[in-house]
Symmetry: C2
Subunit: 134 residues, 2 copies
């Protein structure tokens, strides 16, 4: 059975990276280790490690991505939680066998080589859950 290892990150949808950093970095004192453009995700992402996890501040760079639509509809706030798994293909099979609705039926590979897949929020009580295998 595939195992969830930890919370990899919590992603926060933001309108503006700089004003968000005024809270997360300057007031709370977290360190921003990287500010990355992620064209494949139509987003700019600020990474702030905390413990063995990260806060990611994610700003959409187009108007038509899922993130942009979420932001327009719900406003800024927590967008998804990413759980790190030891075997993402095994976990997706395990979820499918239980009838859990998935956004990605099989793992996708990100620009950084990590495998990821999203569970549909309908299956997770309104929470958008990303799975990561590193």
């Amino acid at each position: 059975m595939a195992i969830i290892k930890k919370i990899n990150h919590v992603a926060v949808a933001v309108d503006d990276i700089e004003s968000s950093l005024a809270f997360w970095r300057d007031a709370l004192g977290l360190e921003m280790t990287e500010l990355r453009d992620a064209p494949a995700e139509a987003a700019q992402i600020a990474f702030l490690p905390v413990g063995g996890s990260e806060i990611e501040l994610v700003r959409p760079t187009t108007d038509d991505s899922g993130l942009a639509k979420y932001l327009a509809k719900r406003g800024p706030g927590m967008h998804h939680i990413c759980l790190e798994v030891d075997d993402i293909a095994g976990m997706l099979a395990q979820l499918k066998a239980r009838g859990v609705r998935l956004i990605n039926e099989s793992p996708r590979t990100g620009a950084d080589g990590r495998q990821y897949a999203f569970v549909h929020p309908e299956a997770a009580g309104g929470v958008l859950v990303e799975l990561y295998q590193i």
Copy 2:
């Protein structure tokens, strides 16, 4: 300067603990270590440790708590993120000095003896942030 140590937990607002456990425990395979009634918070809480953090499934037990109102307005989903801090009084002073709006101006003590305080979501880009000192 007070230091954020890690993500202590991510709290998920749920209508029904059992149906939520069908996903988080039975499908993902997380262990529920405790199911606790928290009368002071007008909630029932299921604790599911993951890595050094926890997923908490929180169900309101009255109609008039902040959580119940959140659930009625926004539907189920992620409710808040709790960050563990080494010195909560110091962190609150640090936040106040920067003009960060707080829900709790000074630390409160929970039933389990932990000190906690909430930052106002207006100050954190729509995210409800709890601070914990253990």
